[in-house]
């Protein structure tokens, strides 16, 4: 996007915003000009929120969810069923599943899905750490809740192949999820049904 006529600090902000996912050149410009007109305190608060987030949020050593305590609130909750682990692609997927209030087990966040096209292989995900968790023997059921698109299915297939031989039952979210959909955007009813209707992977 051509913003060479914008003042240099403004042009830099537009470039930074444009790098964010889902923000096109037009949106980046609109946000930047909004911030120029916003009260100073508002912009200060946003800047502080950004740096506090970066300083205080890290990955849980057990489930790789985003957290500001170690272990995270879910892993640290003694009420949760420690024999079940639900594997998701993104930390946001946990929020979606938690909203259903149907799931009482633990999670494992992969931080992506296998996609040779995009140069993402199993080594770029937290699959080795997941295998480590399974080898402790505490986990009896593994629920693969990757997205119902090609990359999500490939990731689930890969994990299923990797954990063959370990004493853990592997299930997969199935029914009700529309093809090509992202878990993040699935509605609660659909997702609740999908958890209940999960299927054993042979």
């Amino acid at each position: 996007m051509d913003h060479q006529h914008a003042a240099a600090p403004l042009a830099r902000l537009i470039d930074e915003l444009h790098r964010l996912p889902g923000v096109g050149p037009k949106t980046a410009q609109r946000l930047a000009y909004h911030l120029v007109r916003a009260p100073k305190e508002e912009v200060q608060s946003l800047a502080e929120a950004l740096s506090a987030m970066k300083e205080q949020v890290f990955f849980c050593s057990q489930c790789h969810n985003l957290t500001d305590v170690e272990p995270c609130a879910i892993c640290g909750d003694g009420q949760r069923d420690r024999s079940t682990v639900c594997v998701v692609e993104q930390a946001l997927d946990i929020l979606a599943l938690e909203r259903t209030r149907r799931y009482k087990g633990l999670y494992h966040v992969l931080h992506g899905a296998i996609s040779p096209m995009n140069g993402v292989g199993p080594g770029d995900l937290t699959i080795a750490a997941l295998e480590g968790r399974l080898r402790t023997g505490a986990v009896k059921e593994l629920i693969l809740a990757t997205n119902p698109n090609l990359e999500g299915e490939a990731t689930a297939t890969y994990i299923q192949r990797q954990v063959r031989g370990l004493p853990v039952a592997v299930t997969r979210l199935a029914r009700g999820l529309p093809s090509g959909a992202d878990l993040e955007y699935a509605d609660e009813v659909t997702l609740a049904r999908a958890i209940e209707g999960r299927q054993v992977m042979s």
């Binding site: 296998i114 996609s115 040779p116 096209m117 140069g119 292989g121 199993p122 080594g123 119902p148 090609l150 990359e151 299915e153 490939a154 297939t157 890969y158 192949r161 997969r172 199935a174 029914r175 999820l177 529309p178 093809s179 299927q199 992977m201 042979s202």
Partner: protein, 403 residues
């Protein structure tokens, strides 16, 4: 594997076995047609006019409403007329209003050059395609086959001796109209193939681990076996119909055959057996795959061949034999669609009658008379006098407009 099919949205249209009749066609900036809004009646409509006046474009537009893509593999941006106003973003709109047993059905295809999108790989502006059914946006896999059409055109004979990819494309476009699950599988297979080929290239360059390959093998085999099973069944049906129609058309004794030529020997017994054979074919080609960085065996390399009396038509047939074989194929395709969906397709005959002698023309016109709707173009209206087309509606097309 878990049942991936359960992810597919319910896509089967409500059971309806009657015809889907074109009642109105509206075009904007479609090839040489700036604007056109034309009512159609059931039965036969003859569009006549001299060559290059736009008759063919009308039929192509109707076919686009059935298949959601151009009959030719050429760039779809060529469908957009370039005589749009200066400063306006080039676009074309094709809209068909149909009568589906008393229920109106509106199909729309909208193509537009992306205003400030990135250029595609070939440096041309990207093309955005939007499909709508009764005003609601649809993906191609949920649009194709709402109405079905079979297009007969002079270039059909190229199917006999043309490239395997052109035959594959033709077969997929035809079968998809009557088999949406197959279309879903074809689109999915293409994405799997792209991913797997990227992985093979990464393996060749040492950027990936061989442990990643079995996952993509599993997914490729499952998807590919379903496609091969569907194609094998469809070709068996097309082969039987085309042989019968060809015998009637030629009164000849030499049997026409349409033979499936898959990229590896395909066993009888359905997708499960095909999957075993596909896995063996992947194993047999593994070394070459790693060398080329591409998947060698699979339905993306399928072909089919025309034979007459046990001899290859591509190698030995005359132009006249090619013509009759492809007319038989097209009529067989119409039968296939009717058998599979219960709905007879619209027949689109683009300047094909002049390619046939009086007897064969008579046979084809009997078929046309049996179909609920047919659009027929000709540059030679008098030649149709005295045929079954005497009760047809007649429209004259001049310079992209109806006279």
């Amino acid at each position: 594997m878990w049942p991936c099919r359960s992810f597919a949205p319910p896509s089967a249209p409500a059971p309806y076995n009657g015809p889907v009749l074109l009642r109105r066609l509206s075009l904007e900036n479609f090839r040489n047609i700036a604007s056109l809004d034309l009512p159609f009646a059931p039965g036969r409509t003859v569009l006549h006019g001299r060559n290059a006046q736009g008759k063919t474009n009308l039929l192509e537009a109707v076919h686009l409403l059935a298949a959601a893509k151009s009959i030719r593999a050429e760039h779809e941006r060529d469908l957009i007329a370039w005589n749009v106003l200066a400063g306006e973003i080039p676009y074309t709109r094709i809209r068909g209003d149909f009568d589906r047993g008393g229920t109106p059905l509106r199909l729309e295809v909208f193509l537009q050059l992306e205003p400030d999108g990135d250029a595609s790989q070939d440096g041309e502006p990207r093309l955005a395609k939007r499909l709508r059914v009764n005003g609601a946006p649809r993906r191609a896999a949920d649009f194709v086959g709402e109405m079905q059409a079979v297009l007969f055109e002079p270039q059909d004979i190229e199917l006999v001796y043309g490239s395997p990819s052109s035959r594959r494309r033709h077969l997929d476009m035809t079968l998809s109209q009557a088999d949406r699950p197959l279309l879903h599988d074809l689109q999915r297979y293409q994405r799997i193939l792209t991913q797997r080929n990227h992985l093979l290239k990464s393996l060749r360059e040492g950027r990936a681990s061989p442990a990643e390959l079995p996952t993509w093998d599993d997914i490729l085999i499952e998807s590919g076996a379903a496609i091969i099973a569907a194609r094998a069944a469809a070709l068996a049906s097309l082969d039987a119909s085309a042989a019968r129609l060809h015998a009637q058309l030629t009164a000849g004794t030499e049997r026409l055959r349409l033979l499936y030529a898959p990229s590896f020997p395909v066993p009888e017994g359905g997708a499960a057996h095909i999957a075993v054979a596909f896995r063996q074919a992947l194993a047999a080609t593994a070394a070459r795959e790693r060398l080329f960085g591409a998947t060698i065996a699979g339905p993306h390399r399928d072909d089919f061949a025309f034979q007459l009396g046990g001899v290859s038509l591509a190698a030995f047939g005359s132009r006249g034999q090619h013509r009759l074989a492809t007319v038989a194929l097209k009529l067989a395709e119409a039968e296939y669609m009717t058998q599979r969906t219960g709905t007879q397709p619209t027949l689109l005959l683009d300047d094909i009658l002049s390619e046939l002698d009086a007897d064969r023309r008579g046979f084809l016109l009997e078929r046309v008379a049996d179909s609920p709707q047919a659009l027929i173009t000709t540059a030679d209206l008098p030649s149709l006098q005295g045929t079954l087309l005497r009760d047809a509606a007649v429209l004259e097309i001049v310079a992209g407009a109806v006279r």
